[in-house]
C-alpha cells in the first residue's frame, strides 16, 4: 500500500489561490485506506473548501487513480463538471496524480504527500513515478514528478545536458523530465511556476517513522518472529 498524508490545508489553499471552481478527485485504492482520499475525506474537503469560498463543481472517488486508462473511462461521466473547474484537486498519492493528470486537460494539484510505499503500489507496480519524498512538488511541475522524471532529481529546471528533448543519460530511451514538465506547464498556461525557486528538499522527510515505513510483508514477518 502507498502511504499518503494530507498536506496542511494552508498549503492546499495556497495552490488554489486565484481559482474559484474546483473539482475534487479521490481514490478508492490506498488513499481510502490511509484516510486521505476516500469518500469521507473528499466530503470533508468539500466542506472545508466551500467554507473558504470555493465552488466545488463536482466530486468523484474512483478505484485506483494510478491506472489512467481506467480513470479516464470513469471520469468520462464527469466531463461537464470537470470542464467547469479551474483545476482539479487530487486526494491521492503522487503516482495517482501523475497517472491521471496526464489524461486530463486541467491544472492538477496534489492534496497529499506520499511518504512511503508500505507494500504494493496500488495498481502501479513500478518505481517510475514516485520516490515517496514526503513533500510533493507536483503542484509546481504540472503533475510530473521532477524527482523521478529527471535523472538527477533536479527541482529547479533542466540541466545543460538536455538535447532534443532527451536526457544526457540514456538519450536513446530517456526523455528529459524537465522538457516534459516545460511542455506540460506551457500547455496549461502555467509557465510562471518555473520561475519560482524551489527550496532545497528536506530529505529527512524521506525517512518517516519506521512503523509507517514498513511493508505489510515485513510487519507480518515481525509478528511471527515475536
Amino acid at each position: 500500500m502507498i502511504i499518503s498524508q494530507q498536506k496542511p490545508i494552508e498549503e492546499i489553499l495556497g495552490y488554489l489561490e486565484g481559482e474559484s471552481n474546483i473539482f475534487l478527485l479521490g481514490c478508492k485504492g490506498c488513499a481510502e485506506a490511509c484516510e486521505t482520499g476516500g469518500e469521507k475525506q473528499v466530503l470533508q474537503m468539500k466542506e472545508t473548501l466551500t467554507k473558504e469560498g470555493k465552488n466545488i463543481t463536482g466530486t468523484c472517488v474512483i478505484d485506483f487513480l494510478c491506472d489512467k486508462a481506467l480513470a479516464k473511462t470513469r471520469l468520462f461521466a464527469h466531463e461537464g463538471k470537470i470542464g467547469k473547474a479551474d483545476s482539479i484537486l487530487f486526494m491521492t498519492c503522487g503516482i495517482g496524480v501523475q497517472a491521471t493528470s496526464a489524461v486530463l486537460p486541467k491544472v492538477c494539484h496534489p492534496a497529499c504527500n506520499t511518504i512511503s510505499v508500505g507494500g504494493a503500489r496500488g495498481e502501479w507496480r513500478g518505481e517510475e513515478r514516485c520516490n515517496e519524498c514526503g513533500d510533493c512538488l507536483l503542484d509546481m511541475t504540472g503533475g510530473i514528478c521532477p524527482l523521478t522524471a529527471c535523472t538527477k532529481g533536479l527541482i529547479n529546471g533542466p540541466c545543460g545536458g538536455s538535447k532534443d528533448g532527451k536526457c544526457e543519460f540514456e538519450p536513446d530511451v530517456r526523455d528529459c523530465g524537465w522538457m516534459l514538465i516545460y511542455e506540460r506547464l506551457k500547455k496549461l498556461n502555467k509557465l510562471d511556476n518555473l520561475k519560482k525557486i524551489i527550496e532545497p528538499k528536506d530529505y529527512a522527510k524521506m525517512n518517516p517513522p519506521k512503523d509507517i515505513r514498513s511493508t505489510i510483508m515485513w510487519s507480518l514477518e515481525q509478528k511471527q518472529v515475536n
Binding site: 527541482i155 529546471g157 533542466p158 543519460f169 520561475k195 525557486i197 532545497p200
Partner: protein
C-alpha cells in the same frame, strides 16, 4: 581582483580554463596556467569534468592563487551533499578563493566511474543560494557563521538550447539566487547569440561569451551530434576541412568569433580543451 570587481570597472573581461590532471603531476598544468598569467582576468578550474575523476578543483585553485593567477573555482552538485559543499566553500574562502562557478554537473554515467552513487542533493540554483547565504554569514539551515566569507558567484547558461525558454527562466532564477555573472556554453553563431543577448538584457547581469577552440572537423561533428546546445555551422566545418594548418585556422576562427560578438556581451571565456598553449595567440589575434 575577483571577476565581479572587473565587471564593475567596465572592462571587457577575459577568462580561460584549465583541467586538473588525473594524478598528482601538476607541472604541465601549471606551465599552461603560467602562460595565461597577465593575459586573462581569471582561470576556471574544472570540477571532475565530464564526471572523470581527477585532481580536485579546490586545491588547483589554491595553486593558481599562489602563482598570482585569479582562479574561478568550478563547483558541481554531482559528488557532494550540502554539508560537504558548504564546508568546501568555507575552505576556499579561507584560502582567498572568491570566484565560484556553480554548476549542476554531468551525470556520473558520462565519466570513468559510472558505478558511482550520484549525489545531486542540491542543484545549481540552490548552490547559488548557498553561496549567497554563506556570504550573509549564515549556513543553509540558518545557523550563524563565525566570520562571513566573500565570494563572487557565477553560473552558466546555454544560448543555443532548444527550446531556449526554460534556459532563460532558469537563468532568471540563478540571478535571483545570487549569480553575479554568467559564462556561456560554446557559441559559433553570432546571429543566434545576438538574439539571445536581447532576450536576457532585462536580467542586467554580465555575460561572458563561451568560445571553444575547434580542433578538427571530427570534433565539430561530434559536438553537433552529442553535445547539448552546441551547433557548429557548416561554413566553419568547411573552413576546417580545407585548411592545411588546423592550429592556425582554429586560432583565426576563435579570434574572429570573439571580435564579432564582443560588442554584444561583457566578456569572453575561452576553452581550449588541450590546446591551452594556444590561448594567448587567440587573445592577441582578437585584439583583447
Amino acid at each position: 581582483m575577483n571577476l565581479g570587481e572587473h565587471f564593475k570597472s567596465g572592462k571587457f573581461v577575459v577568462s580561460s580554463e584549465i583541467g586538473p590532471p588525473k594524478g598528482i603531476n601538476t607541472e604541465a598544468m601549471l606551465a599552461d596556467a603560467d602562460l595565461l598569467k597577465g593575459k586573462v582576468d581569471a582561470v576556471n578550474v574544472t570540477d571532475q569534468q565530464s564526471s572523470v575523476m581527477r585532481l580536485g578543483s579546490f586545491v588547483t585553485c589554491h595553486l593558481l592563487k599562489e602563482r598570482g593567477i585569479e582562479p574561478n573555482f568550478q563547483v558541481t552538485c554531482r559528488d557532494r551533499n550540502r554539508i560537504a559543499l558548504q564546508s568546501d566553500l568555507l575552505s576556499a574562502a579561507v584560502l582567498g578563493i572568491e570566484n565560484v562557478l556553480c554548476l549542476t554537473g554531468d551525470y556520473v554515467s558520462l565519466g570513468d566511474h559510472p558505478e558511482a552513487k550520484p549525489v545531486f542533493d542540491l542543484d545549481s540554483v540552490s548552490l547559488l543560494q548557498v553561496v549567497t547565504a554563506l556570504q550573509n554569514g549564515k549556513d543553509l539551515s540558518g545557523s550563524e557563521l563565525s566570520g562571513s566569507p566573500k565570494f563572487c558567484a557565477g553560473a552558466v547558461v546555454t544560448p543555443g538550447a532548444d527550446p531556449l525558454e526554460p534556459q532563460i527562466i532558469k537563468m532568471e532564477k540563478k540571478v535571483k539566487a545570487g549569480a553575479q555573472f554568467f559564462q556561456t556554453q560554446a557559441v559559433y553563431e553570432p546571429d543566434k547569440f545576438e538574439k539571445f543577448m536581447e532576450q536576457v538584457r532585462y536580467l542586467n547581469v554580465p555575460v561572458m561569451l563561451g568560445v571553444v577552440m575547434l580542433k578538427s572537423v571530427g570534433m565539430a561533428r561530434f559536438m553537433n551530434k552529442y553535445v547539448a546546445g552546441i551547433h557548429v555551422p557548416d561554413n566553419l566545418i568547411e573552413e576546417m576541412e580545407k585548411t592545411e594548418n588546423k592550429a592556425d585556422k582554429s586560432i583565426e576562427i576563435a579570434a574572429r568569433l570573439i571580435k564579432e560578438m564582443k560588442p554584444m556581451c561583457q566578456g569572453v571565456h575561452i576553452m581550449a580543451i588541450g590546446w591551452e598553449k594556444k590561448v594567448p595567440a587567440v587573445i592577441d589575434a582578437a585584439g583583447l
